[in-house]
Symmetry: C2
Subunit: 298 residues, 2 copies
DNA sequence: CTGAAAGCGCTTACAG
DNA sequence: CTGAAAGCGCTTACAG
């Protein structure tokens, strides 16, 4: 077919609104050009940026993003993923709650990329928190704090344990005391309910597993007449939506969520295509200094 | 085939991990059992509940949810939807920014359900705001307010105009003055930047197009020494994540987001199946009284 | 280079 | 009721 007739055909096809039937193509090629992303809780604003990053790069690469939520249930997580697996070219598991064996079982069927959780033998994207956490601890040290508390999240959360460990090392290195208080629900109420424990711990500064807990803690503290940052310094994680609007604006450690979403998709597509892993950006967290931390009271 | 051999075959199939190939089935049936949902901004926490509602009912009905984001761009919105249309059985358009003609063009290809925007001839899900808004206005009236301001959102937002109109009627009915101040960006900065206009308007209470703007306004007011609710009452819309944690906790009007997501999916599936429209729940908004409103200053 | 044929894995209408 | 055949709309390997 010469170029001219090809053009004519394409023009007419466009005019008639012809589109390739993606199912017919998928049937033949075995590739659906779809990617599944599984998060535990879409209501958690942290995932919004991650999904946004994943969606935008997917679109650019000509893939469509299928979305599923586990509602923090392991059964629901496997059930949804198993249901999706036949329809997609690969799956992104964000902070999966299921055990390693279940994840590996999925990875035997289709390429899997894991975000925010370590697991051997699979591509994993975890934010590099050490430098930002070091900065946070340094900041508290400079303010005179010597006794810290870490308000941990749910016991099943890999990220909570990870943050606790990094924090522990950073504090001890600088000769500061640090206690872990928890586990707690990763909600505002989780933070609220911890206010008593925090006060009796004697810590002058507390780092919460996430901003939501930090906000809950601050609200509960205020109700008891202890005002942040004068009586207590508080740092969160994630820089969630609204962290800069609350009073006091929240000092926090922000993860590279959007970049992680993009990196996960890029890696997954490379795996699907059998290409080598793409260059990976550093994915470093960032210390965001705002108004919820202050000098220790004399 | 008798029941026994059928069972044997099913058992073996299960053992071998056989799954129906959804692409082959879709090719034959013309039904992909996928639904696309298009939102303008996934970072807007309002959509989280809506997507959650849509996802959970989709999963129950055996459909999978494809997610796309327009980033508030009309071009991106049509491009993404056009790309998705051949792959899905129907699409849900949440607060679409494109014009009616573009929406109708999509609806000619696949069933479409529209959320948070009126358009003739298509199934539409809009929250019923009147009673909740009446309650809000009544509440302000009881507090002695007689001069209100409505901080509107973007001019392209159908919901912003709608809320403005309902508010206007409710206020006038009670003999209260109300001015519309806007348009504003539907962000915290949009609220912040409006603080001056609000003050010079002389209004003693302001209703913002959404909670985010309300929070921005409250923060900016505080910076200028005017404290909510003593010097100014503020009401938002949406009851976003964090609205109950900020100080003062935000009085707001909450839409039935999750129910709307579910209703939209149910209606879409009914249309796809050629079934009659399902029973529709009322989808009423709710007035949520918290701490950002108070008696007018003497 | 061009064009006809086979085949991806299902569903469905039809013959036996 | 059972089973073989056709066909969904593509891609790809192959014959001409």
């Amino acid at each position: 077919m010469n170029a001219q007739t090809e053009k004519r055909i394409r023009d007419i096809a466009a005019e008639l609104g012809y589109r390739i039937n993606p199912m017919a193509r998928a049937l033949q090629t075995g590739r659906t050009r779809m990617i599944a992303i599984m998060v535990s809780d879409i209501t958690n604003p942290v995932y919004a940026d991650l999904i946004r990053g994943a969606e935008s790069i997917s679109t650019v690469e000509g893939y469509t993003l299928v979305f599923a939520e586990s509602h923090d249930s392991r059964e629901q997580e496997v059930r949804s993923v198993e249901r999706l697996v036949p329809a997609v070219d690969g799956v992104i598991l964000v902070a999966p709650r299921v055990d390693d064996a279940a994840i590996r079982a999925i990875a035997e069927q289709k390429p899997v990329v894991v975000v925010n959780r370590a697991i051997d033998g699979l591509p994993v994207f975890i934010s590099h928190d050490e430098p930002a956490i070091a900065l946070a601890v340094e900041h508290l040290h400079g303010l005179g704090h010597r006794s810290l508390a870490y308000l941990s999240g749910p016991s099943a959360s890999w990220a909570s344990a990870h943050r606790g460990e990094v924090l522990d090392r950073a504090a001890k290195q600088r000769g500061m005391d640090i206690v872990e208080l928890g586990p707690n629900s990763a909600t505002a109420d989780g933070g609220r309910d911890a206010v008593e424990t925090v006060r009796t711990s004697g810590a002058t500064a507390v780092i919460a597993y996430n901003d939501i807990m930090a906000m809950g803690l601050i609200a509960a503290a205020r109700d008891r007449g202890v005002v942040v940052p004068y009586d207590l310094s508080v740092i969160g994680f994630d820089d969630v939506f609204g962290a800069d609007i609350v009073n006091p604006a929240l000092t926090t450690v922000r993860g590279p969520l959007s970049a992680m979403g993009r990196a996960a998709v890029e890696r997954l597509i490379a795996d699907v295509d059998g290409a080598g892993p793409p260059d990976e950006a550093p994915l470093a967290s960032e210390f965001v200094l705002r108004a919820s931390t202050g000098p220790v009271r004399a």
